[in-house]
């Protein structure tokens, strides 16, 4: 019982100490000390999460911290799951980050960034522990502000960082406003602001109010999770932020959007009508397909990973929506299964996405390049990083023996068996959902083959890649921790087993024990399915060994491998620039999905001065814009700009007018008060 508060208090203490250390210490030791302290925050927070997953619960009220409302904390298995995930990711990324900043006082190594980093980590761990509206919003805003301060940490190196930070700031606060309004309506109608009061008061609210609250909070949380249509900050902020921060954001922060959705939708509101969950499934499905399509078109490595995060979160929310749908139809067991699948995917995604971002950061640090078209040949120069990236990519493509496959299998099982729920809605929605999952996983395979193959294999295509060296030891250690986590989740998912069940039960749905021992089993009323990843891996390894041995034996008279030139059609050795780049790899996909992506092409021909028939220069530009952003955001931004322009007439220059606005506003308000009473 007392582990959770002790661990949380330790985490808070270490976080504050880390912030102080970041401000005060000289550059020589700053990175290491802050790294250690942040790792401590992660370990402590993760420990409390694991304790909660093990069955302990804790709640407390600390009246002093916030005036008027006081702060309430409560940790149950659902918050424990997210805390454990965040804790593990924070611990590993902190070690990685200590290596990342060693040797530089700019960017992430500067005083400000190092002071804010432990606070960001702390807020990631504390948000799931909040148990009242004001506490939740306070911690949510703390998380937003700290990440906002960290994103532009490398602004001296690249000017695009500032624009990214502005986008991020605006969108995260837009989400905050929606969240604020939603929670305020909820608290006002339910008669209290603690989560307990919200839970008990939700039954008495009218369906219209419940729907309004759900829509507002769902949109805000989905924006944080990076779902379309409010996803535009993700592909901007994640590439521009320092890689350790990108890893934390992608692997721990976006999860909290899912946490909010599950907490409000399932726990506090207690489930709702079908249209809520269809909305969630629509957003999730659209994000999954759109996100991975944009990732397929991206040649910036970190942008690709950011869009992949959007895709995975889309799959998670698809599962959450399906769970809600089943729950509404009365099949609680199936709802529990779908929810378990979604939560398992959150865990797996955090593991492999953090690893991928850290590896991308290593590449960026070693080569100075993020563009896949200009990378290549890194497997000879950075073998360990390549191996770690490959491990993360295996998880991301959702194929055995990776860890992504396990959660996707469970998600597919819940969808497939969802047809046990009667109704035309499910009969139409579930096959579409299965198709979405299948398409997104197929495209994910293409995306990560591109990232790994074009970025790391073959030969270097530019000087930056040719000059690369292996990452320093601390960075490798951090990535190694994450790789171990991925491997553990892939081979022995039963480690999570009971914890996952308890998390589902904490959200109010019955646990179906899908994960146990060395494998996964789905045992519902009439359905059953089994997956044992360990067996698959073992069999594959044994077979691989057998095949290799057989080949060796068959060619036993000739043992030496000779090297020969690549086939060059007789035209001389192929240069590295002849290899397929990321853009060319994605070109067939771009053509197939031409209608959805609407790529823009510009050809600019400059003829010579003497004659218009001779060409001096041709400039070709091909862009795949973010179409949703184009269609949805441009009109809103244009309208706002026009409104701002027309409002300029109000600012005539007369000080009397400016003062007068305030005076008239006040008087009008008072008159309205008098008249309205």
């Amino acid at each position: 019982m007392s582990l959770i508060p002790a661990a949380l208090a330790t985490a808070t203490g270490l976080g504050v100490a880390g912030a102080a250390a970041g401000l005060v210490l000289p550059q020589r030791v700053r990175g290491a000390v802050v790294g250690v302290l942040t790792a401590g925050v992660g370990v402590a927070g993760g420990a409390s999460g694991v304790a909660a997953l093990g069955g302990s619960r804790w709640s407390a009220e600390v009246p002093g911290l916030l005036p008027l409302a006081g702060t309430h904390f409560a940790v149950d298995a659902l918050s424990g799951l997210f805390m454990a995930v965040a804790g593990a990711v924070v611990a590993a990324v902190a070690v990685y980050g200590a290596g990342y900043v060693a040797g530089g006082a700019h960017g992430l190594g500067s005083r400000g960034a190092q002071a804010v980093l432990p606070l960001f980590a702390l807020s990631l761990l504390l948000v799931p522990a909040a148990a009242s509206v004001s506490t939740f919003l306070l911690l949510w805003e703390l998380m937003a502000l700290t990440s906002l301060l960290l994103v532009p940490a490398e602004h001296r190196a690249r000017p695009a960082v500032r624009e990214a930070a502005v986008w991020y700031a605006v969108m995260t606060h837009l989400g905050l406003v929606l969240l604020l309004v939603g929670f305020m309506v909820y608290a006002a109608q339910a008669g209290g602001e603690t989560f307990a009061a919200l839970r008990s008061g939700s039954g008495a609210m009218s369906p219209a109010v419940r729907g309004l609250v759900f829509v507002l909070t769902a949109v805000a949380f989905s924006s944080k999770a990076g779902l379309v249509p409010l996803h535009a900050w993700l592909p901007r902020a994640h590439p521009e932020a320092p890689s350790a921060v990108s890893a934390l954001m992608s692997a721990a922060m976006v999860n909290l959007g899912v946490y909010g959705l599950v907490r409000v939708g399932f726990d506090l509101l207690g489930g709702g009508p079908a249209w809520w969950w269809l909305l969630a499934m629509a957003m999730g499905g659209l994000s999954a397909v759109y996100g991975i399509l944009q990732a397929a078109m991206a040649s910036d490595l970190k942008r690709l990973l950011a869009y992949s995060t959007s895709e995975n979160m889309g799959l998670v929310v698809l599962g959450v929506g399906a769970a809600g749908l089943f729950d509404h139809a009365g099949n609680k067991a199936l709802a529990g299964l779908a929810l378990a699948a979604a939560l398992l995917h959150v865990v797996n995604h955090s593991a492999f996405k953090a690893l991928l971002f850290c590896a991308a950061g290593s590449v960026l640090r070693a080569t100075g390049e993020r563009n896949l078209d200009l990378l290549g040949g890194l497997r000879a120069r950075m073998p360990l990083t390549t191996g770690l990236f490959a491990l993360g990519a295996l998880g991301a493509v959702a194929l055995p023996p990776g860890n992504g496959f396990i959660s996707e299998w469970l998600l597919l099982q819940s969808m497939i068996h969802g047809l046990a729920v009667p109704g035309v809605t499910t009969a139409i929605v579930l096959p579409v959902a299965v198709a979405v999952i299948a398409l997104s996983s197929g495209l994910a395979a293409a995306v990560f083959v591109k990232a790994l193959g074009v970025g790391f294999f073959a030969r270097p295509r530019a000087e930056g890649a040719a000059a690369a060296g292996e990452s320093p030891l601390l960075m490798l250690a951090g990535m190694g921790l994450l790789a171990a986590l991925c491997a553990a989740l892939a081979l022995v998912p039963g480690l999570l087993g009971d914890g996952l069940d308890r998390a589902v039960e904490a959200a109010g749905r019955p646990g179906t024990r899908p994960v146990s021992g060395g494998g996964l089993q789905v045992r519902l009323d009439e359905v059953s399915a089994v997956l044992s990843p360990l067996w698959v891996v073992a069999t594959l390894t044994v077979t691989l060994g057998a095949v290799t041995a057989t080949v060796r034996w068959a060619g036993r008279r000739r043992q030496r491998r000779t090297r020969a030139r690549l086939w060059d059609c007789g035209g001389g050795a192929p240069t590295p620039r002849m290899a397929y780049t990321a853009t060319s790899f994605a070109e067939p996909l771009q053509r197939v999905f031409d209608d959805v992506l609407a790529p823009e092409q510009d050809v600019d021909v400059t003829p010579m001065r003497e004659s218009a028939y001779l060409v001096e220069r041709v400039k070709f530009r091909n862009r795949v814009p973010d179409r949703i952003e184009h269609r949805l955001y441009r009109p809103v931004l244009d309208f706002l700009a026009a409104a701002g322009q027309s409002a300029r007439r109000l600012a005539g220059g007369s000080v009397h007018a400016y003062l007068g606005y305030g005076f008239f506003g006040l008087v009008t308000l008072l008159v309205v008060l008098v008249v309205g009473w």
Partner: protein, 235 residues
């Protein structure tokens, strides 16, 4: 002190408080306006003192003394000093008699003429009474019944701030606004916590210092403190 004596004295102080604000709207010379402001500061200190004596709270009496010192003593002194700086700049070489006739000492034609200003003040007072009625009904004591006075001075102070052309007159309007807020705080809740009062007072002091400096600079830069000439604050 007895209840009826307290009520009479309180009403007297509040009446003086409101009257001072209204007369500020009437008078045009800056020196007179500053004197009225000092008078109002005394009335405010009297209100706080009466409340403290009535409720036997020594901290209110101390606060009353502090308010009197600040708003009836220090702030008018600072403004008078700023006024003198403006005038002596202009009247260098002239004798003392020229002081009273310097342009800077009088307010130029205000934005709203005197008659209209006084009528507006009456309307604002009525509005203050109407707005404060539900508050008074919550707890009808002599102090809260005088609440509308505080609100009225707030609105009148704001009005002065909006309609005066000279920078120093605007400073006085701002200070009237603040006096009104403080009076409302005392009448409604018997004062605010000491630390809040200290903070607010410090704020006001700082504001006046800054405004004083700014006024001098404006005068040096443009030759006049008439803000109608300052029309560049836009896009």
């Amino acid at each position: 002190m007895s209840e009826s004596l307290f009520t009479q004295l309180l009403d007297l102080a509040c009446g003086a408080f409101l009257l001072a604000a209204v007369v500020v709207l009437w008078r045009r010379e800056l020196a007179a306006i500053v004197r009225l402001f000092a008078l109002q500061g005394l009335a405010l200190a009297a209100i706080a003192l009466l409340l403290g004596l009535h409720e036997d709270r020594w901290d209110l009496i101390v606060v009353a003394a502090g308010i009197g010192a600040l708003r009836a003593g220090l702030l008018p002194y600072l403004i008078r000093r700023a006024l003198a700086t403006l005038v002596t700049d202009r009247a260098q070489g002239q004798d003392q008699a020229a002081y009273t006739h310097s342009e800077e000492v009088r307010e130029t034609q205000p934005l709203v003429n005197v008659a209209a200003s006084l009528l507006t003040a009456a309307a604002l007072t009525l509005l203050a009474y109407a707005v404060a009625r539900p508050l008074v009904e919550l707890d009808p004591t002599p102090a809260t019944r005088a609440l509308p006075v505080g609100l009225a001075v707030v609105l009148i102070g704001f009005f002065v701030l909006v309609t005066r052309r000279r920078a120093l007159a605007q400073v006085v309007g701002f200070l009237l606004l603040d006096n009104g807020i403080t009076a409302t705080a005392f009448l409604a809740a018997s004062g605010v916590p000491l630390i809040v009062e200290l903070g607010v007072s410090f704020d006001v002091l700082l504001a006046v210092l800054v405004l004083q400096l700014l006024t001098v600079r404006v005068r040096e830069a443009f030759g006049t403190t008439d803000i109608d000439d300052l029309r560049e604050l836009h896009d």
